[in-house]
Symmetry: C2
Subunit: 208 residues, 2 copies
DNA sequence: ACCTGAACACCGTTCAAGT
DNA sequence: ACCTGAACACCGTTCAAGT
């Protein structure tokens, strides 16, 4: 019931009083059953995670299967913006990682990764997917000052390659961008020869 | 003044009444000067963007310079969690992209990218940085149910390579993970072998 | 055990009224 | 032009009181 209100009206529409009204009960009855609002939202978050976290896996190669996991998870989250918003507002975003972790880990193991490398890959993968969704969600909700961006890049055309400025002034194709970033990461993860990453980057990391 | 309250006490600590009290003035006086709270927060967001958006660039090669931009931007945002939280809560997260866009575009141009490819690279780069920060911010704020993750992976050890399960049960080194993801993306973006001292990219300001 | 009503402290906001 | 005080509608929450 609280779930329905949240899904349709968002977190702002879900108050103890509106919920009580929809239940045909006094406001204070909720406190006896659930506890305070924090407890109510915690229960909701747990249900959301279970509902929205399951992913479908398709494809033959490990790389393809990883991409399908990323797409599936992203679509689940984008389909329920109000639910994802609540999870994030409650500071529970990390739990969004949990349901898909196992299946991602499995695919990466199949791709030949093990130990710390595989764990890092799991985290990098899920972080990219969920971070993308959270940004996209706020972009959708705010058409924002698109004219400001265009203004900005109209003035920039002298100092930069003009076609780049033109493209930056245009709206983003989020699907394509997600596909691009995720593909780049997956390609970096499942290429067999271990890149000389830890040693070389430890230098540049301490450089600043 | 509202800025100081926000920085120290977060958005929850910034009410019209606490602000008025700190200003030594009646609550309603704020409405005459600023308008309603939405207008107040909008002004704050604009100031935050200006303050937190500037990045420092170091390094010789385009790839190194891109990495330094990413690190610098990330650190700025992580240093002011309450400010970033407000920007996000206001749905203005996209504006976090603006200040760094120009300098990232410049470096990618120097790296030999143009037009749509360069624009996509700009967006992918900034999205990874800002998405990472937003996730890290909520992770920091909630130690969460770390025991749940360990439980989960304790049970998983049979079906997966055991060292992977062990590593996944451990907390994440966020600095290392960010470095890993960003490096992978940058490597995917700047396809060229990138000699340590490219004479060509030194000439970045020649006329078009 | 389960629910109600009154009450409290806190919001953002409006508006007539003061200077 | 600038500020105040009272008032309103809305929160979450507590608690004694009902059945």
């Amino acid at each position: 019931m609280a779930f329905d209100i949240l899904r349709s009206d968002g977190l702002d529409g879900l108050t103890m009083r509106t919920l009580a009204a929809k239940l045909g009960v006094a406001v204070t009855a909720i406190y006896w059953h659930v506890g305070d609002k924090q407890a109510l939202l915690d229960e909701l978050v747990d249900r959301i995670i279970a509902e929205v976290g399951e992913v479908r896996v398709t494809g033959g190669s490990p790389a393809d299967r990883l991409l399908s996991i990323g797409r599936s998870l992203r679509q689940n989250l984008l389909d329920q913006p109000n639910l994802v918003a609540l999870v994030h507002r409650q500071g529970r975003t990390p739990v969004l990682f949990l349901p898909a972790q196992r299946v991602v880990a499995e695919e990466l193991t199949n791709a030949g990764l093990h130990g710390a490398d595989a764990a890092r890959a799991v985290h990098a993968f899920l972080r990219l997917v969920i971070g993308s969704v959270i940004l996209e969600r706020t972009e959708q909700r705010s058409p924002d000052q698109r004219e400001t961006v265009e203004e900005l890049w109209a003035r920039e055309r002298l100092s930069l390659h003009s076609t780049l400025a033109e493209h930056l002034a245009r709206p983003v194709d989020r699907d394509e961008l997600f596909e691009f970033s995720l593909s780049a990461l997956v390609r970096a993860l499942v290429t067999q020869p271990a890149p000389p990453w830890p040693a070389s980057s430890a230098q540049s990391y301490n450089a600043t």
